[in-house]
């Protein structure tokens, strides 16, 4: 467990030191931030090594847990409990690698930024919070990490707070995820009271009724949908691209948005007990993956393309979960963390060189930025699902699981399986199309802006190269049966039902992650079709955006007007309501206060008039008073 403590505390202390000392010693910001993250990475490596070596005997999954303190609350106790298993170790490794890459990358990307020290400290704090989510064994502890991530995301999106757009995006991200977090909080209450404990282990062991499980998981799904930017709460993620690009790579691609998926994987036994939730999840995933992929097809901003692509890929994970395969979802989570972080950093490198986010102003960067081009190509191939890159295998796992859910009896209704399968297959083609468009517009043909691209400094190049390695190899490594599958599968499988010598388990949850021939051929054909269509359009007019001629382009570019819809249905009525509340406060509450003062003054003036300085008048009043009193006493006494 020491490695877990080091992994958590090192970035946290680095963040603390950075925030306290940062403004005074700006030179210390880089070493402090990088050291904290390096320590975290080393501990994550130790944990991953432990997970790979495994326990003795090997049939049992490797799990370590510790309960540091228990907080009595009067009803359901909270405990400061941590737990690490194979999957947690892998996710923590992914988090630490991406965090370190981003820290190193940021030293060059934000060189000379006046707020670099607080930026680096917030990234460290975010790393600590994400690792806390990964290692938490108590829902309350998890909630703490979850919320700290949210606030770090808010601060970092608003890094350039001088700009109106950054501020608005930061607030939007915060408010929209908050909407989901309310459901998450109540889900924790439902699970805690249902299981009599907030510990995840106890919740999983508890015999929850189907009704409790359904209510709790539906509420949890709210939080997941908010955090992982799924329809209908996905609108914050494309706007969150106002933050610096490394932040988009770390928070809005690799880690925080994947935390929702991770949470479902952790609590997957509860979800398996609630088929209704799985069906809802399948619908959300299907809508999100296809809708976001189509929206990505028509974006001009390179970062917005990647953001919609993130929504779409997260929907793949959610779809994998919906069709009963936590392993496939976890697999895609890990590969996506690698290649999407790589793509964002590559995009950052392009933006750094060209000085614009807009792809129509790029072009021809292939020769000017060979390293960026090569690594971005790897990332894009992985995203599109070209074999043998990582994304191909993880997508295959999801597709295979969906196929199985559609064709066989399982915890999920087969129509949900069909829905996810069809949406996922269509999305494969659309993904290949937008990936090809991004690739061609950015790197090929002639440079369209006057600015000549150039290769970024070494601190930005190396993270790209490092992240390109897992983008290629991760799929091949993790497809091996009996590693990831065993770690992520539901606990019922860990307790003996599954034997390591039998990878071909056809029952649920799907444990076999290796690609199947039929599905692979189909998806590769779809990739070729999607990419080919865009390439064909591009060949005819290489200077023009291949999707410029699409008739529905406006709808795609505005992401099906969801934002406009929210603006009309939610934002404007709320604004109107606030205005009337403001008026009521000003006129009614403030008016009452001001009126009280004014009327008291008037009354005083009235009373003051009796004080005219005429002693005889006073005396008359006195006498009248005395007479009244006497008369009163006499009448009352008789």
């Amino acid at each position: 467990m020491t490695a877990v403590y080091v992994a958590l505390l090192a970035p946290f202390l680095a963040a603390l030191a950075g925030l306290l000392a940062g403004p005074r010693w700006p030179r210390a910001a880089v070493p402090v931030a990088v050291t904290g993250t390096v320590l975290s990475l080393l501990s994550a490596l130790v944990l991953a090594a432990q997970a790979v070596v495994g326990p003795d005997p090997p049939e049992v999954s490797w799990v370590e847990s510790a309960r540091l303190a228990s907080v009595p609350t009067g009803s359901v106790d909270m405990s400061l409990a941590l737990r690490v298993d194979g999957f947690a170790a892998l996710v923590s490794l992914a988090v630490a690698v991406v965090a370190l890459a981003v820290q190193v990358y940021s030293t060059a990307y934000l060189k000379g930024d006046p707020r670099y020290s607080s930026y680096a400290a917030l990234v460290s704090l975010f790393t600590a919070a994400m690792l806390l989510v990964v290692f938490a064994d108590d829902l309350m502890v998890l909630l703490v990490g979850w919320e700290v991530m949210g606030v770090c995301s808010y601060f970092l999106i608003g890094h350039h707070w001088e700009q109106e757009g950054s501020r608005a995006s930061a607030v939007k991200a915060f408010v929209v995820t908050r909407l989901g977090d309310v459901g998450f909080l109540f889900a924790i209450f439902a699970l805690g009271t249902g299981a009599g404990s907030f510990r995840i282990a106890d919740v999983l062991d508890a015999d929850l009724s189907e009704r409790t499980a359904t209510v709790a998981t539906l509420l949890l799904l709210c939080g997941v949908v908010g955090k992982s930017a799924q329809f209908p709460l996905h609108t914050w993620l494309p706007d969150a691209m106002a933050g610096p690009t490394p932040i988009s790579a770390l928070i809005h691609a690799a880690t925080m948005v994947a935390a929702g998926i991770y949470l479902v994987v952790r609590l997957y036994d509860v979800f398996l007990a609630a088929p209704v939730t799985l069906a809802v999840m399948g619908v959300i995933a299907a809508v999100s993956m296809l809708g976001a992929a189509l929206a990505a097809l028509a974006q001009d901003d390179i970062k917005r393309v990647l953001a919609y692509s993130t929504v779409s890929q997260l929907a793949y994970m959610l779809g994998g979960l919906a069709v009963g395969s936590a392993a496939a979802a976890g697999f895609h989570l890990l590969t996506h963390a690698a290649f999407k972080a790589l793509l964002f950093l590559a995009a950052g490198s392009v933006i750094h060189a060209v000085g614009t986010n807009l792809m129509p102003d790029m072009g021809g960067l292939r020769r000017l930025m060979p390293v960026t081009f090569a690594t971005a190509t790897v990332g894009l191939a992985a995203l599109a699902g070209v074999p043998p890159f990582a994304g191909f295998f993880s997508k295959e796992a999801v597709l295979g699981a969906a196929e199985e859910a559609a064709l066989h009896e399982g915890p999920v209704a087969s129509w949900a399986g069909w829905l996810v399968l069809v949406a996922a297959l269509l999305t494969v083609a659309v993904t290949a199309a937008y990936v090809t468009r991004l690739w061609l517009l950015t790197f090929f043909h002639q440079p369209r802006s006057g600015v000549a691209g150039h290769e970024p400094p070494a601190a930005m190049r190396w993270p790209l190269v490092v992240l390109a390695v897992p983008s290629v190899l991760l799929g091949l490594i993790l497809t091996r049966p009996s590693t990831l599958a065993r770690w992520t599968s539901a606990r019922s499988w860990q307790e003996g039902a599954w034997s390591p010598g039998d990878p071909q388990v056809t029952d649920f949850p799907r444990v076999d992650l290796s690609p199947h021939l039929g599905m692979s051929v189909l998806s590769v054909l779809l990739v070729v079709a999607g990419a080919g269509a865009v390439a064909w359009a591009w060949r005819r007019a290489p200077a023009v955006d291949p999707t410029a001629a699409l008739r529905s382009r406006t709808a795609l570019e505005r992401a099906f007007f969801v934002d406009d819809f929210y603006d009309r249905v939610v934002v404007r009525p709320v604004r109107r309501a606030t205005r009337s509340v403001g008026w009521a406060d000003e006129a009614v509450v403030g008016g009452a206060v001001r009126g009280t003062g004014r009327e008291a003054g008037r009354l005083a003036a009235l009373v003051a008039r009796t004080q005219a300085g005429n002693v005889q008048a006073y005396l008359t009043g006195l006498l009248a008073g005395v007479l009244l009193l006497v008369a009163g006493v006499v009448t009352l006494a008789s």
Binding site: G601, R602, A604, A605, A608, R609, Q611, A612, G613, N614, V615, Q616, L619, T620, L623
Partner: protein
């Protein structure tokens, strides 16, 4: 002699005194009205003394004290009025409204 007559007289005198104190403008006349009230009290004291047949004649003795004190008080009062008149060239009570609340105080 019945008690009624002196008590009526005293009441009348006292009422005239109260009217004078409350209604007259001239400070000296107000002072004189105060004397009227004092004397009304004196008549009361003597009348009740006789009516009660007090062995120690406390009422009459007390009257002598009141007359003495009234003399001193009038002296003091007249001196004050004199000073007021010297300073302000008037002894009209309704003009002496220095202590009034200022008009614009509200």
């Amino acid at each position: 002699m019945p008690l009624l007559m002196p008590v009526l007289l005293a009441g009348l005198l006292f009422s005239i005194g109260v009217y004078g104190v409350l209604a007259r403008r001239n400070a000296i006349l107000v002072l004189m009205a105060v004397e009227l009230m004092l004397n009304a009290v004196n008549i009361n004291l003597v009348a009740f003394d006789v009516w009660l047949r007090d062995e120690l004649l406390a009422g009459q003795v007390f009257t002598l004290f009141v007359i003495t004190i009234a003399a001193a008080e009038v002296g003091l009062g007249l001196a004050i009025i004199l000073l007021v008149f010297r300073n302000r060239q008037t002894a009209q009570l309704d003009l002496l409204d220095e202590l009034a609340e200022a008009e614009d105080a509200a």
